[in-house]
Point group: C3
Chain length 395, copies 3
């Protein structure tokens, strides 16, 4: 597709409700809004490849709040901001301090006087991350209406306890590019499966993000995990509803092989049981560190019962023509490489290294597209103008 | 007032001595120089509201040195730099290390090869913060004269042991906007009063900054605190001199109610006694941590004798028509919210939340104005050109 | 020389192999490539002095990886990036964690999706720093070829275990300016000598960088140190070869005075013995902290035997007319100032303070030149265009 065709397609999409709005959960967006993100990301990619500047902000700040360690999301956000002309300013709260209520409201306004965008990662505590984002969003909405803030900074969810939209959307972009179009995902089977890891407490937002997004594309989404590793029921409900609407399926199994059977895509990844993570949040709330230590030990022991949940060559043979696309959000726990026994056999991982890197490479553009659509009323027109001007990124 | 009228007014002010000069203490600036800051800040605000780029630096660095924790000043400085086109580069010295003499001279030059501005916050030790800023200023002045530095980076005091000019000037901007002009502050009564806080050692620079600035506007400035909570005598002298010159008054009392009586503005805020802070600095110099611990304990006990110094609804009733403007530099210690017993009753704070946020919102523009006037010989002309060009901040 | 003459000289140099290439070791570059760096640095300096913007990147990231503390190199890199229009994004790995193999490959790609340049400082462990840089370079080269990275980020060595090219090149720039041209360095004697410091384990990359660079300019390079403080034999070999080719000399002595004899330039600086540093790396690899502690103690004791290796006024009298140029990479250990007994007498250091600051001031431009030549195929033409456009840096 040419740039101009893509622009025309974008122009045909109603993005008016994305304007001055946040991107928190993919399932709260319309199908055509999700498509608008993909198209905008593709256009930004094309422009960059042609060395055309996409600096739509002459100045402005992108505030980042990372309540958990992060390398790749941090760099993806920094890259997205830079691509559009925003400067990142990081709010480092100190990890131990979890602000609530009035403090959130006040801080959100104090850092936003010149903020165009706020990116937040808060995935550690069930029931907290997404709630915190909504608190911040309400605070800046209020600040804007009250005349405290001269502009309404919009939020991008860089991973919460419920969803990881910048990851799932990048993953979908990878599928679109691999299978030659969004329409080609219809009927494809994706196995989102748990996998063993020697570490504990990995966030649920990746599997939840995947089933919460892929079910809307008419895919056959199979969620597999050992008993006891259930994800949030609310997200399963969404997956059910969406698959029904899109003409796809959403199935669950406690058998990894069953999920791999005839799959076109496999996404084996460790996560912690939802119920255990809820308990952990309660223990943290109560400051009960003895209980937390015990929970950690129990969870590691529980994990150790399922070391056979590994993405092996043998399992890969079960997939469609033995050639399913292997996906991961990285970094993966690779057996014999980064740990003794892990999520994936080294030879499988190695074979998919380049596709995995490409999968990750879409994230800066996806984030940039989310920012773009929340700040420009007529994104197609704005992109057209960038093309007309044709300012070189590197002179 | 229109932009053009404001520009004409700015043009009429002699800002020649602000050019390539530092902003360390408000009382070392002429009345018309203070006015020039306000007008420049207003113009920058107007341009931003009109989405006109104020990027006067195509590239350049703003060095920040924070010798104390800071969120809002950090973001205000970052915002100001971004607004003008400067990139912030933070010098993180490590909190424990207090550099002196040659080290300051050397470091100041080493970080300034491409620095246009240096913002410093150093408010922890009496007799040190402002002295450090002057050392840095002398070092870069020398470096510039000797040809080491290609430009003279100018300094902005982001809070020292004596003054907090970016705060007091933002506060004044808030008053100007609330009362409809600088000229309307004449005769207005402002009560700068101590208030109880369960924490100890809050800096003196806020009350000192307020009495050192507001006395020059012909205001009735009342300073109130319990016995033993005296501020620096040098600043009181300045307040005395300035109030005499401006036709205002500067009075002191140890009675909070007396200060509130008929006040148009109240600014109740905790601070540590000057004499105690001097001792603490000496103890730190001598490395006498036993004495420091004892001092902390004594100060907290001393504070606890004055829990009745709280800004209550009852006290507010004493003010002019019971409707004085409540001010605070934030964050405030709010009774029953952020602490059991604090500086202000929750209902008072709540009623003034939006004005308080607005009060804070002027700081980025005040800092930007300070930078602007120190780097542009003819600020009115430079702003005129920005308006003519009319480059959009967001395209 | 005028700008245009300089541009013509730069145009005459074949810089094609520097394009999309890294700058890791000076001795792997051709003489004319080294000259191209100097000329580009001079041109960028001239443009900045004329207030002409050199922002050749409209957007783009400069990734910095500092595996050791750094103030001046950090600010030099930040300044260089800013000068050219790049935004710095720092990868903070945590000091303790030394990544290897696949992790390096993966991380290098993950942070580089929009990276134009990567600056790395890794000088702590013999055999590791330069190897790490080559690993990163290979990873992004691969990523680029595989289509993961849309551009090939180039690397600048900000100090490794072998060389410190941005320092030695800045030092050379200082000599060029002091002696009136690169051609005037021919026959000049430079004494690169060890000096006593009460700290241990200072990197070898400075002396190695100096003998590895100055020997190619036809200089008389004298390396002096106490027995046991040998540098890497490989670098000595390079110094030997290059001095033979350039018509200079490379001599070694264990006598500080002998090296100072008739020297035009002296560079007295502490460093750790190469063999000891190799041992230390092995101990770290084996996690043998008892051995490391013992080694530290032994090295400090060994240092203490050579407190007479101090750059004194008496020694300075031995130099050419007693007026050799004193050099140091800063910060220096100054006797009676920063330590009881150190590398240099206070009066010597004081006399050369301004030249020392100037020596340091070239680094941002040298780094910028290294970036420039690695990203622009026709640097002379790109600079010409900047001059024609004549966009003001400060408006």
């Amino acid at each position: 597709m040419t740039d101009n065709e893509l622009i025309k397609e974008l122009e045909a999409i109603d993005t008016s409700k994305m304007y001055l709005n946040d991107f928190l959960l993919t399932w709260n967006k319309k199908d055509y809004e999700i498509e608008a993100i993909f198209k905008t990301a593709q256009l930004l990619t094309m422009l960059r490849k042609k060395n055309i500047s996409t600096k739509v902000f002459d100045s402005g700040l992108g505030i980042s709040i990372f309540r958990d360690n992060s390398t790749r999301t941090r760099f993806s956000f920094a890259s997205a901001c830079n691509l559009l002309g925003l400067t990142v300013s990081d709010l480092d709260e100190g990890k131990s301090q979890i602000a609530h209520g009035e403090t959130v409201r006040e801080t959100a306004n104090m850092v936003s006087f010149m903020a165009d965008i706020i990116g937040i990662r808060d995935d550690m505590y069930i029931g907290k991350g997404n709630a915190y984002m909504k608190e911040v969003a309400a605070a800046v909405e209020d600040g804007y209406k009250e005349g405290v803030l001269e502009q309404r900074p919009t939020l991008v969810n860089l991973q919460c306890d419920i969803d990881h939209p910048t990851q799932s959307m990048s993953d979908a972009m990878h599928l679109i590019n691999t299978f030659g179009g969004l329409e080609n995902l219809k009927g494809k089977k994706i196995a989102m499966t748990w996998a063993y890891s020697p570490s504990y407490g990995k966030p649920l937002s990746v599997p939840q993000g995947i089933i919460g997004l892929m079910t809307r594309f008419g895919m056959e989404v199979a969620l597999a995990h050992p008993k006891g590793y259930e994800v949030m029921p609310e997200v399963e409900e969404i997956a059910n509803r969406q698959s029904a609407e899109s003409g796809g399926t959403f199935t669950k199994t406690n058998n990894m092989a069953e999920a791999f059977e005839n799959a076109d895509i496999v996404y084996p990844k460790s996560w912690a049981p939802f119920e255990a993570m809820k308990k952990r949040t309660d223990y943290y709330g109560a400051g009960d560190f003895t209980a937390i230590k015990k929970l950690e030990k129990d969870l590691l022991a529980q994990n150790a019962e399922h070391t056979d949940w590994e993405c092996t060559e043998k399992l890969m043979k079960l997939t469609n023509k033995g050639k399913a696309l292997y996906m991961h959000c990285l970094p993966a726990d690779i057996t014999g490489v980064s740990c003794k026994k892990g999520e994936v056999e080294a030879s499988v991982f190695d074979r998919y290294k380049i596709p995995l890197y490409k999968e990750a490479s879409y994230k800066p553009y996806i984030i940039a597209a989310m920012i773009f659509l929340s700040k420009f009323k007529n994104p197609a027109q704005t992109i057209s103008k960038l093309m007309e001007k044709g300012i070189k990124r590197i002179s």
